[in-house]
Symmetry: C2
Subunit: 299 residues, 2 copies
């Protein structure tokens, strides 16, 4: 992150997605003020916005105008936020702090947090199916819905969380840990990369396959780095308490292979992600920078 | 329900949706056995299946073959089941009994029930976007996704549940109670009717508008009758404890206008539903029978 142009680009994408989310969640309805406030509270003003940034970067690499990418970018972030809200609930991780602020059920209450997550999932699909330029063909929109839905069900995010639940207090081998992470975090990150490509009209072919590989590897790199930061990080940088995984006896890369090897595995996944970009030629430059950023980040 | 042909038709639709759901939830994945078991437990072998029956009946009234209707029928039932699982959670209604059996979080555990609901919502959209005959045009599939998503977000089901939460212990006027019910239960029932029409290629026009009105009124009639049955019913017939709403100080039609007037309001909504079917001519006969069934049912 010592490239000012790259940093400026990330900052501008963060500002763009903030505006897009703000507009997407400006739901006019006084009868459900508390629910809408909870959805906005958890979605706006926070987060790294990695997933929407990947949508914009992948879409740009495939030649799409940013207007085509706003809806998928908003959808993946809403899905991410819904998963955080539900993960933080007392029945799950029982976390008090998220992105440096009270978690949704602490700032509001449990039923409202449950509903806010549920409604954000529905809203993500609504945005994907309706928002953006009317010129986007129906089969492209439908492919977006299909990709997102597949990434967050039992084969993807929800399945990964279920594996995570069953793994608490048990020892996983490296293959099982990787399977869990590829689904729990990786599937939505991979889908973010693919949604950008699909919105750009790249729904199949060599570039699509390259981006699918890139997305899977950057997703894995991201999660390993997350595990590393949970050991090394500070509350100030993370916006949540470090050491939380270890305290819950959750299997992590550092607990399984040690901190140094975990770092090496993250770097190896990063390198595979960058290698996968070859078919995109020079258009893959920004995505390569993002892969490096994901592994060097400190929060 | 004294028409044997109608009863046989309902029974055959229930058998059909059971098979469709069983297949849709045969997710091959040993790593998430518990999650899949919970999804199947709550979805299969139970329920009135009103929503899928409405998809089939509405689709048939618009001339669609049943094969076109399986995916939307499965999707609306999965959404309904997800909402029941989350409603039953300790943070919400804290119910032990549903459809005559232990609720999902009692039969499994809270985190699994939470995830099962989340995954069922995602799976509903996946089924809608992918299942069924490849010949179904992308714009029809997309219209299905759009209709369902709009019906279950803040403007629909989740919004209605939020209003319900905020209403506990307070007195609502009749307009607010109707608004709550039209969203909490009514929106998904109306969407079920519309999904059948959309899958049949009736995405707009006079028949679509007629079915939208029918769906809204039958949804309201259903919910008022639900309130009535909560006062009158037996545990054996309901599969849950009667009087639960009153015990929670939830506003209901009987508590607001008395049992007799509640019954009359349900019948008035039923009559408006049947009147709305006029543009369909004789093709609306089965839907009219369903409207009568909804108000005369005892469970």
């Amino acid at each position: 992150m010592n490239d000012p142009a790259f940093e400026a680009r990330i900052a501008s994408l963060r500002a763009r997605i903030e505006t897009v989310l703000d507009r997407a969640l400006a739901l006019p309805d006084s009868a459900t003020a508390q629910l809408r406030a909870a959805m906005r509270y958890s979605t706006l003003d926070g987060g790294k916005r990695l997933r929407p940034i990947l949508v914009y970067a992948s879409g740009a690499a495939c030649g799409a105008a940013p207007e085509l990418l706003d809806a998928p970018a908003a959808a993946v972030e809403m899905i991410h936020v819904y998963s955080l809200i539900h993960d933080d609930l007392p029945a799950m991780d029982d976390d008090d702090l998220r992105r440096g602020r009270a978690t949704c059920h602490r700032a509001f209450d449990e039923p409202t947090a449950l509903l806010a997550g549920d409604a954000l999932q529905a809203h993500a699909f609504e945005v994907l199916a309706t928002a953006g330029p009317a010129s986007m063909p129906a089969d492209v929109r439908l492919a977006l819905v299909r990709e997102l839905a597949a990434a967050i069900g039992t084969s993807g995010m929800a399945g990964g969380q279920a594996i995570d639940l069953e793994a608490v207090g048990r020892t996983l081998d490296l293959a099982s840990l990787e399977n869990m992470h590829r689904r729990k975090t990786g599937a939505l990150i991979r889908a973010s990369v693919l949604l950008g490509a699909i919105a750009a009209g790249v729904g199949s072919g060599a570039r699509h396959a390259a981006l699918a590989r890139y997305g899977a590897e950057i997703g894995l790199a991201f999660q390993i780095q997350d595990d590393v930061l949970d050991v090394e990080g500070s509350t100030a940088a993370l916006g949540k308490l470090p050491g939380a995984d270890a305290a819950r006896a959750k299997p992590t890369y550092p607990s399984l292979v040690g901190l140094e090897d975990a770092r090496r595995l993250a770097q190896a996944a990063r390198d595979r992600a960058i290698d996968a970009l070859a078919p995109l030629g020079s258009a893959g430059g920004e995505l390569a920078q993002l892969a490096r950023y994901v592994v060097s980040r400190e929060q």
